[in-house]
Symmetry: C2
Subunit: 127 residues, 2 copies
DNA sequence: TTATTTATTGCGATTGTATTGCAATATTAC
DNA sequence: GTAATATTGCAATACAATCGCAATAAATAA
């Protein structure tokens, strides 16, 4: 892996993702960051994070990419392949602690799993 | 529902989807059709099919939309929410006869399920 | 068959997401 | 401090998908 450098951009993006705990689009991330960072830069940072296994990418059925921190601490472990929920009201995507299970013939080589449920999330359905 | 008319475009699109039995992008459909049909028209036809429940739409992690016939005959029934498999080699998407199961708190209102596995399909892994 | 209604189509323009090339900048190691 | 190079900003680009509008064609009535 290519050597990485510490930059304000990286820290800012990580902080935002860490704070919300949800999957965010580049646009949402940019809005939450106080300093001004170029769009392309944010994408590049996010893609690097993905390469390094720090965040994972979800593509929702709106065709957009969303990025979320890979949570791997003990008490809040998320399954490697988990469902995501996109709320149409609050426009957020959360990682559900629900594992994606499936049985598929051995001949298939699964390299990636992308599962998104869409609707109204718990918080919004209460209102 | 608004009244539909029969057009060569509709028939051509349906025939292509029926023949392959897979989920296809607008681009792939256009290439498989012998007559010349405008891009926007194909999208409109497909969107109408989705509205009418004739085809369903899948968004893969490449951010593109793929459309597949809703199979509902007796011996080849596909689960309402099923997994899809996108093969990176042959660049096709097939509907797997594998149901998507998950348990999620009642407060969530699930309106849509979009699950795509990506990798190498059965046929391509043999080679 | 002809006329009328309006769903459908083609075309070009447009929107929006994401990426890329290149020069400038900033970080790390020496 | 200096050198090497990872990172950034900017503008341009690629691509999927949609939209407005005028033209066309399918379904129905006359």
């Amino acid at each position: 892996m290519k050597k990485r450098r510490n930059t304000p951009t990286k820290e800012a993006v990580l902080e935002v993702l860490s704070k919300t705990g949800k999957a965010m689009s580049q646009d949402a991330i940019e809005q939450k960051i106080d300093i001004d960072i170029n769009r392309a830069t944010i994408y590049r940072v996010l893609n690097r994070f993905c390469d390094d296994g720090i965040v994972h990418r979800v593509v929702a059925e709106d065709g957009k990419q969303y990025f979320a921190l890979c949570v791997k601490c003990e008490d809040n472990k998320e399954p490697s392949h988990h469902f995501h929920f996109r709320c149409l009201r609050c426009e957020t995507i959360e990682c559900l602690p629900v594992e994606v299970n499936f049985t598929i013939p051995d001949e298939y080589l699964v390299e990636n799993v992308n599962c998104v449920l869409t609707g109204t999330c718990r918080d919004c359905s209460r209102i």
